[in-house]
């Protein structure tokens, strides 16, 4: 099998060679059969000949017997016709003997010649006897016949019998040799058939297994590759198409191995870079958190001194100083809000923001909201409504952060609305609280709705100039809502207004309402 596999011959040639070998053997068997048939037919011919010769020798026997008979009859009847009969039988005897002699072997020829000589002598004696009969010397004729002719005839008869036996023996020998040859041929044919079948089976087995083995190897190899073992190799003894295929598979495996290695290295590099990035991002957030703290201390001083100036702690200030001092105060507070937002966001990003979960009243949140936004809505001449459903039980969560979220949304709504109303509604829906802030403001274009909760995003830069704001409020709100296990979304139609929704669990501790 391995030897066949290792032959540097194509699969095509191997199959052809296998079939050709079987076919040649088959043709050989056919030729052998034809030869046997020819031999048998020639042996039949020989047998026929032998048979004929036996027949002839028997005819000679017969002619001799009749000859003897007619000689005896001639002595009794003494007529010419009987003598003629003797001669006729003698002719028959001689003719048949001549036929037999034509295809005779040496020893037979010798026998035949002896018969012929004896027959010649017998014929001479018969002629003498016939002359004696014709002369009327019957007594002499009978004596001659008894003393001379009869012994010759006995001698001839013995020779003829010998000849008959000889021919018969020859025929018997021939017959048994033909039978033996037939048996031998039959045996040869049968064993050739068996050998041919075995050879066909052997060739089929060897050639097919020389194909099956590499296919099995390939099956195992591909299984390994499919499992991700790209270092696997396939080894087959074949130097035919399967050998070429196996070499291609090894090439593929090497290439896969190489790709896998480089991909692995790439992914490790990526992981390392990612860790670096995470560390850098965390460092940045911590830096921002610290910076925000450092910024607050001077802010405290600035706002403190301004407030004390405006409160006349340093004595009454001239009226023309009031406006610039108020401007300093408003801008200082705005700057403080920015710092607060940055601080919140960087704390959230650094993973250091924690919720202070306790029980709170939704109505308190709404009241705080109304108090803090009352003056802004009045300044802008907007209708501002904030209502909580009456029967909401005590909720659980970080009330301060939820107030911050609602203030961010409602503050934005007031900022982006020039006329109309801003409405805040809170309702309970099963275990959830739904906060809804709707306005009749400028709305948000459809393609920007996705972006509104991203950090430092506003719908466009001109709006920032017109309406102010850090762009951090919405992303902070979203983070706090998510920290409460809730979700936030917006529905808006540009020019008509927007509605922001957020939904948080009534109780974030998962407990039952008190």
């Amino acid at each position: 099998m391995r030897w066949v596999a290792g032959l540097k011959v194509s699969v095509h040639a191997k199959l052809l060679a296998g079939f050709l070998i079987v076919t040649l053997f088959f043709i050989g068997m056919g030729v052998m059969s034809l030869q046997t048939i020819a031999t048998m037919s020639s042996q039949g011919q020989l047998l026929d000949d032998a048979h004929e010769r036996v027949h002839w020798s028997q005819e000679i026997q017969h002619a001799l017997a009749l000859q003897m008979n007619f000689t005896a009859m001639a002595l009794l009847l003494r007529n010419e016709a009987t003598v003629e009969s003797i001669l006729r039988e003698n002719n028959r005897f001689s003719n048949t003997l001549a036929r037999l002699e034509k295809a005779a072997q040496a020893e037979e020829i010798q026998l035949i010649q002896r018969i012929r000589a004896a027959q010649g002598e017998a014929l001479t004696t018969v002629a003498d006897i016939a002359n004696l009969v014709r002369d009327g010397k019957i007594e002499d004729a009978m004596r001659l016949q008894l003393s001379k002719e009869y012994p010759i005839y006995l001698q001839i008869e013995g020779l003829v019998n010998q000849l008959v036996k000889h021919e018969r023996d020859k025929m018997d020998r021939l017959r048994s040799s033909v039978a033996a040859a037939n048996r031998k041929t039959l045996l040869l044919l049968a064993s050739s058939a068996v050998v041919l079948i075995l050879l066909a089976l052997l060739l089929g087995f060897v050639i097919s297994w020389s194909f099956i083995l590499p296919v099995q190897e390939a099956h195992g190899f591909l299984g390994q590759v499919a499992k991700g073992n790209f270092a696997a190799t396939i080894s087959v003894p074949n130097r035919d198409e399967f050998g070429v295929l196996a070499e291609r598979m090894n090439q593929m495996s090497r290439e896969l191995h190489r790709l896998d290695e480089s991909q692995r290295r790439g992914s490790e590099e990526l992981k390392r870079l990612n860790e670096q990035l995470l560390r850098a991002s965390k460092a940045k957030s911590e830096f921002l958190a610290n910076m925000s703290h450092e910024l607050r201390t001077p802010m405290n001083a600035i706002l403190g001194f301004v407030e004390m100036l405006l409160d006349d702690i340093y004595g009454e200030i001239p009226p023309q100083f009031k406006e610039p001092l108020t401007d300093i105060q408003v801008n200082g507070k705005h700057l403080l809000n920015l710092i607060n937002d940055v601080l919140d966001l960087s704390k959230i990003e650094a993973g250091r923001m924690e919720l202070a979960v306790s029980e709170y009243s939704v109505q308190d949140i709404v009241d705080t909201l109304k108090a803090s936004l009352h003056s802004l809505s009045r300044e802008k001449g907007l209708e501002f409504v904030a209502v909580a459903q009456a029967d909401i039980p005590l909720a659980c969560g970080d009330g301060k952060r939820i107030t911050q979220c609602l203030t961010n949304l409602a503050g934005n709504a007031l900022k982006f609305t020039r006329e109309g109303r801003v409405e805040v509604r809170v309702e309970r829906q099963g275990d959830m609280l739904l906060y809804r802030v709707s306005d009749t403001g400028i709305g948000i274009p459809k393609d920007q709705i996705e972006n509104v909760f991203a950090e430092f995003r506003q719908v466009d830069a001109t709006i920032t100039r017109e309406f102010g704001g850090t762009g951090l409020g919405l992303s902070i709100t979203k983070k706090f809502v998510e920290m409460h296990g809730g979700r936030i979304w917006v529905e808006s139609e540009p020019g008509k207004g927007s509605t922001f929704f957020f939904e948080i669990p009534l109780r974030v501790d998962g407990g039952k309402p008190a």
């Binding site: 201390t297 001077p298 802010m299 001083a301 403190g304 001194f305 004390m308 702690i313 601080l343 202070a356």
Partner: protein, 124 residues
């Protein structure tokens, strides 16, 4: 007449100045300390009527100083207002846990601070 004594523990000169000037027009007497250890020492020696404690201080943090004073029977009853620059939910709780009587986050309004002081220790 001798006014009530207020100890302000703070390391920032301008914030000290604000409170100094804020209280200059009142009857309160201000004493100052610029780090946590000094704050604790001054409180124990002077026994003020009220302590304003910044949360971020050199040497000893405001929270630790508050805990130390609360643990000492001489100062255990003195009201302490903790002032922090972290306007975060957790800090209020930490200040309360340390024993603060009240909590004020920076930047505070001087007006509100004065109101809070007057509520805890009326001027007279």
């Amino acid at each position: 007449m001798s006014g009530k004594t207020i100890l302000y523990v703070e390391d920032n000169e301008f914030n000290l100045k604000i409170v100094r000037q804020l209280l200059s027009r009142t009857s309160y007497r201000l004493i100052e300390a610029t780090d946590g250890e000094m704050g604790v020492a001054t409180a124990l020696s002077e026994l003020p009527d009220l302590i304003l404690m910044d949360i971020q201080l050199p040497k000893l943090s405001g929270l630790d100083a508050t805990r130390t004073l609360r643990a000492d029977p001489k100062t255990a009853a003195i009201p302490i207002i903790v002032i922090t620059s972290f306007a975060l939910s957790g800090d209020e709780q930490k200040a309360k846990d340390a024993g603060a009587s009240a909590y004020l986050s920076k930047p505070y309004s001087p007006r509100e601070l004065l109101q809070m002081i007057r509520k805890l220790v009326p001027e007279n």
